[in-house]
Symmetry: C2
Subunit: 276 residues, 2 copies
């Protein structure tokens, strides 16, 4: 509503459609780059979880590597889940890019008449200016001849030229009024059209951003839960518990070896068995 | 307290110190790997923020790239701040690795006497078994000679051998009792020492894990704030606002071009100025 009220406003609006297409492509690029970053992060986390599971299974600390491994794997899943969601979103954005290009093509056809009206008023405006200049110069010429005392015949001839110039000028004033009315009507419709296109573009772009933002937030909440679980699992594994676990797996027995007493050789018993 | 109550329990505890050193080195490796991952992520985010700032400054969506840029930069800072904190932590863990190695070396010296007592009781135990076997075999030999009706001279000779074998056997039973007492005392002290070492190790390791976890959590909270700010900034930029901003920067004027009326040529005025 605040645009296009001079003859070159149409141009600005017409070319602005192109910026709409650029911005939706750039948004795809931005999300795609974010996907790459999250994918790299997720894969690195998977690798880190594997490292944790390859660490020594001996010693008192060993059971805690399981906590690290599980938590790191879950962290990887969170980020790879975000990757999956954003890849879905990219598909949607690409669909929008295509739809937008089609819509813009259609609009360009629809506003062709407006473009004609713009070109028409611009050329009539120039012609009007020229005809006005011609009428003024012819009138001054007539005045000059009158002052110089020219013949009636010359004055009549010039008078005819002035009349013709004035009629041409008047005709362009009328044509201009008609072109202006046509232009204003077409331009109002077109400006409305462009306004709707632009509003829809921004609304759609903001929806995409919101969907992006929503996925990122969901992932953030999930990561928070993984982190909380990690802290709980660490806290639940007490020092006593770890020492106890170690003792149970490595313990060499709970009873002390008994004393060894002197045994007299019982010949009868000894000859029965082969050895004492 | 549940360990080392058999003669080879000492060995298990002694070699377990090594696992303590392995686990602290592995924890350093784990944190270092996480640092690398976070650094890569942070740098990629910095690059992504730069991409956002290089996107088109034209069109209605353009002002939103600033929101993306600022938010992505802040996200990068969060992760790079985590990198800094974890690098500090790695320094602490490395100090612990060194201190632990020194403490273990000192402990190995302190338990040398226990190792000796272990070896002593093991060798006496074997000698005792041999001397018992010898006493039993000599006694059976004497019985065999008696049954075969050997001379008194031979029986006396064998009787002396039996007496000697029994005395040697009795002496090992006594030596074993003394070695056992020595072993048990030393082993009790040493098991206590190992228990303290192990408990301190786990306590220290859990402190490191807690510090690690704390830094990760702080970063998570910061990222949450950045995300919240992003959502707010997006919501605060309405569609109307973006259209308005665009109109102000690109607008070609708010007033409609006026009508063009026919002007009669005023000769007096026209001759004053050079052109109409």
């Amino acid at each position: 509503k605040t645009l296009g009220e001079k003859n070159n406003g149409f141009d600005v609006l017409y070319h602005n459609m192109k910026h709409g297409q650029i911005s939706s492509k750039e948004l795809t690029d931005f999300i795609r780059e974010r996907v790459t970053i999250e994918e790299t992060y997720g894969r690195s986390m998977t690798k880190l979880a594997k490292s944790a599971s390859n660490f020594s299974q001996l010693g008192t600390f060993a059971p805690l590597w399981d906590v690290f491994k599980t938590s790191t794997e879950k962290l990887a899943v969170c980020h790879l889940e975000l990757v999956r969601k954003l890849q879905e979103l990219i598909k949607e954005v690409q669909k929008y890019v295509d739809d937008q290009a089609k819509a813009h093509k259609k609009t360009k056809e629809e506003v062709a008449a407006t473009l004609e009206a713009v070109q028409n008023i611009q050329s009539i405006s120039q012609a009007l200016q020229k005809s006005k200049e011609n009428y003024f110069s012819k009138t001054l010429e007539q005045e000059r001849l009158r002052k110089e005392g020219a013949t009636q015949r010359d004055l009549d001839k010039t008078g005819l030229k002035v009349k013709k110039a004035m009629e041409a000028y008047k005709s362009f004033v009328e044509k201009y009024a008609a072109a202006k009315s046509e232009f204003e009507q077409k331009m109002a419709e077109t400006a409305e059209k462009f306004q709707v296109i632009e509003e829809n573009h921004i609304i759609h772009m903001k929806e995409i951003v919101q969907s992006y933002s929503c996925s990122v937030e969901e992932t953030h909440v999930q990561i928070g839960e993984v982190q909380k679980e990690f802290v709980n699992n660490m806290e639940n594994t007490s020092v006593e518990n770890l020492i106890q676990k170690f003792a149970e797996s490595k313990g060499t027995g709970k009873e002390r070896p008994g004393p060894i007493d002197f045994e007299e050789c019982n010949v009868a018993a000894a000859t029965e068995g082969a050895k004492p």
